[in-house]
């Protein structure tokens, strides 16, 4: 008898609850938002979602950020055939062509996101991701590369701890002076503390493409992004410069101290090129490090450049299939890309605001750590990738062919360009244009 009463109570409770949910479901549109896991990003987005839902009580956003960075693409690829997944997705800007090619993203509606507005409101690199005449994604935040230097290692090497390298020549001279050997020789394996090391699998392939090639007078790709052009005589000079640190000057190698990023974060490398996202790594792993950040060294003609990149937000075909979801996705995307959202993001995550209005905040430009990254946004270039993994790999392999295989630098670069060109040709041939 007791059991029967209890069951009855549960049943009644369930009826009330389900009725409540049904009523709520009629008014509230639920959309799903996905990003990879990084705690500050999760926190920042939760704050934005809370604000958004307060302002838009008719929309509920399900936030999925429990996907490891390395698995993010796999998870999206697994969800798509199953017909589930996000309505609004955060993806690397370099993936846009591939995702568009698959019909996964829908163009941002011109009425809600006018092209003129995107081009004037956001950092110029956002416009570089226009693809086949449309915008497919816009970001909250952007990042650029800058020069990190370890002030304690500078001082120990007899360098002024407050003067980072201003030119590419300075960089070579300071890297040589800051390299410490074990006393048995000056080969790579004798290094006990690196001056400056190239990590092609980290950020240095970007540094080569968008910074060094331009500074040496070349261009990495044709204007439309369809032709590889870094294998020019200028590009080859840039490549030789890149190779000289490990081959000629012996100031460091990605093989030492696990890799270049670990080396710098753990205080085993005096200078290091990295993005603003590395600030968080240092704060977590080596908070006491005495380091500074400067704009990247200028080229032989005084030219400045940096690589800009960003994780950006797009609307998927899943949202587009249902007008109510589509409308909710548009409103959510508008909300998370405002200048206010950009400011919240820089404070929580440390990435720079994508909106010019928020990025030109004087307080941020004067910040000794964020300032150099923010200054770089003006002259940053974002590479147009069709398959970032493969396009990175060809340069890693070119570097290794010279370093480990003894190949001529220009020949290795030509080979990389040929492989990459074949990839680009395949992509455009399949697009039928």
């Amino acid at each position: 008898m007791k059991n029967f009463k209890f069951s009855l109570m549960i049943l009644a409770l369930l009826t009330i609850l389900s009725a409540g949910f049904a009523a709520a479901a009629q008014d509230v549109v639920e959309i799903e938002y996905w990003q990879y896991f990084f705690e500050p990003r999760e926190t920042a987005m939760n704050m934005l979602i809370e604000q958004f839902e307060a302002a838009n009580p008719d929309i509920h956003v399900v936030h999925n950020s429990q996907i490891a960075y390395d698995n993010f693409r796999d998870e999206i690829a697994a969800s798509a055939p199953a017909g589930v997944g996000p309505d609004v997705v955060t993806l690397f800007y370099g993936w846009i062509p591939a995702f568009v090619d698959a019909g996964y993203l829908v163009p941002l509606p011109e009425a809600d996101f006018p092209a003129e507005w995107i081009e004037s409101y956001f950092s110029p690199m956002v416009a570089e991701s226009k693809f086949e005449g449309s915008y497919w994604a816009i970001p909250t935040a952007v990042r650029s590369l800058a020069m990190f230097w370890n002030k304690d290692l500078f001082e120990a090497a007899g360098l002024d701890p407050d003067t980072p390298p201003a030119t590419l020549d300075d960089l070579v001279a300071m890297a040589k002076q800051a390299t410490v050997y074990d006393g048995n020789g000056t080969d790579i394996l004798n290094i006990t503390s690196e001056g400056f090391a190239i990590g092609m699998s980290a950020q240095d392939h970007h540094w080569f493409r968008e910074v060094l090639v331009r500074q040496f007078g070349g261009v990495p790709y044709s204007e439309d992004g369809r032709t590889v052009m870094y294998n020019s005589p200028e590009g080859c000079e840039a490549f030789k410069y890149l190779l000289s640190f490990e081959i000629e000057h012996k100031t460091g190698s990605n093989d030492l101290f696990t890799d270049v990023t670990e080396a710098f974060v753990n205080g085993n490398e005096a200078m290091h090129i990295d993005g603003s996202f590395r600030l968080g790594t240092i704060a977590n792993n080596n908070p006491d490090m005495n380091y500074g950040v400067a704009e990247l060294p200028v080229g032989p003609n005084g030219e400045r450049s940096t690589f800009g990149s960003y994780w950006t937000h797009g609307i998927t075909r899943r949202a587009a299939a249902d007008p109510a979801r589509m409308e909710a996705a548009v409103r959510f995307l508008q909300f998370i890309t405002t200048a206010e959202a950009g400011t919240l993001w820089v404070n929580e995550v440390g990435e720079l605001p994508a909106q010019l209005e928020a990025a030109s905040d004087p307080a941020m430009l004067e910040d000794p750590i964020l300032g150099p990254f923010a200054a770089g946004l003006e002259y940053a270039h974002a590479t147009f990738f069709v398959d970032e993994t493969v396009q990175r790999q060809v340069l890693i392999d070119a570097y290794d062919q010279v370093r480990l295989g003894g190949m001529d630098a220009c020949e290795a670069l030509n080979e990389a360009a040929a492989t990459e060109q074949a990839l680009l040709d395949d992509f455009w041939a399949a697009r039928g244009s």
């Binding site: 690829a77 591939a98 090619d101 698959a102 696990t258 890693i396």
Partner: protein, 301 residues
């Protein structure tokens, strides 16, 4: 109405119970395998809705890549062959030697078996990361040892010439315990009386091994050769974990077919081409297994 005997009814029930795991296997293992065959004939992007039928185009691309000296696909097939050709005999010879010794000892024998078996039950990724540190060019354990004996430091994973053997050594070591245990089980099956008889006849230890142990161990050996060959052909996780960015480098010197499948499928979204690689690997595994079973499983009298 048909009347079933008790025995028939038992068999019927057995089939009914077996149907459940068979359905499970059909859906979880066999259906995806067939689906992979189908995908290999399509330009299959997992993000797309429509997948264009391309016939044998993916296989033609595979052949073209295999004939390109610098392509990662060619490297993947050649490296996989190297892993098998070096890995299987070295691992089985070592395992047999260890098993023969473990079979002799009585004192602390369980402890020794445990020591050899422990790596096998450890996570491959954890093992790979630990070895990645041990292999470090400067301060890694192996180089510290080499330096202590005034021997030249070795680059191990960071040079194309040494990277594959370095990874292979870890895989052999990790899988050794499994082969040892199987060999031990095989050795225990051989009746002591054969050895006693041989001893009476004045056979040397080598003769006993050559004419008693080895022939009677043949079924065990066949089992292990087939299983370990398949394991080496499917090598993936150690390479992913022990190379920079899991790229199978430096210069594709350690990449494997399965690693290529993963990178093509999930990083380049070429699921069709990845399936063509999978189907090819499947055919190779099937072919090798059939040949091995035919040539190595003869009955010993």
């Amino acid at each position: 109405m048909m009347r079933l005997t008790l025995a028939r009814r038992k068999i019927l029930w057995a089939y009914i119970f077996l149907a459940i795991p068979i359905l499970f296997f059909a859906y979880i293992r066999i259906y995806p395998t067939i689906f992979a065959f189908q995908m290999s004939l399509h330009d299959y992007n997992p993000l797309a809705i429509e997948h264009k039928y391309v016939g044998l185009e993916n296989f033609q691309k595979l052949v073209a890549e295999f004939n390109n000296l610098r392509s990662p696909t060619r490297a993947a097939f050649l490296n996989t062959a190297a892993y098998v050709v070096l890995g299987v005999p070295i691992q089985l010879l070592l395992a047999l030697a260890v098993a023969l010794m473990l079979n002799e000892i009585r004192f602390l024998s369980t402890f020794y078996r445990l020591v050899f078996f422990l790596p096998f039950v450890t996570s491959t990724i954890a093992v790979a990361w630990v070895f990645r540190m041990l292999y470090q060019p400067q301060f890694g354990f192996f180089n510290v040892i080499l330096q202590a004996f005034s021997l030249p430091q070795q680059p191990f994973l960071s040079r194309p010439q040494q990277a594959l053997p370095s990874i292979l050594a870890v895989v052999i070591w990790q899988g050794l315990g499994y082969a040892v245990i199987i060999f031990l089980a095989g050795l225990k099956q051989i009746p002591q009386i054969f050895y006693d008889a041989a001893q009476v006849d004045g056979a040397t230890r080598w003769q006993s091994f050559r004419h008693i142990t080895l022939p009677l161990l043949n079924p065990t050996l066949v089992f292990l050769i087939v299983l370990q060959t398949i394991a080496f052909l499917r090598m993936f996780a150690p390479v992913l974990a022990m190379t920079a960015q899991g790229d199978g480098g430096p210069l594709n010197s350690t990449t494997t077919v399965v690693l290529r499948v993963y990178r093509e499928a999930f990083q380049s979204f070429n699921m069709g081409y990845a399936s063509a690689l999978t189907v090819t690997l499947f055919a190779i595994i099937l072919g090798i297994t059939i040949i091995q079973l035919r040539f190595t499983s003869r009955n010993i009298q």
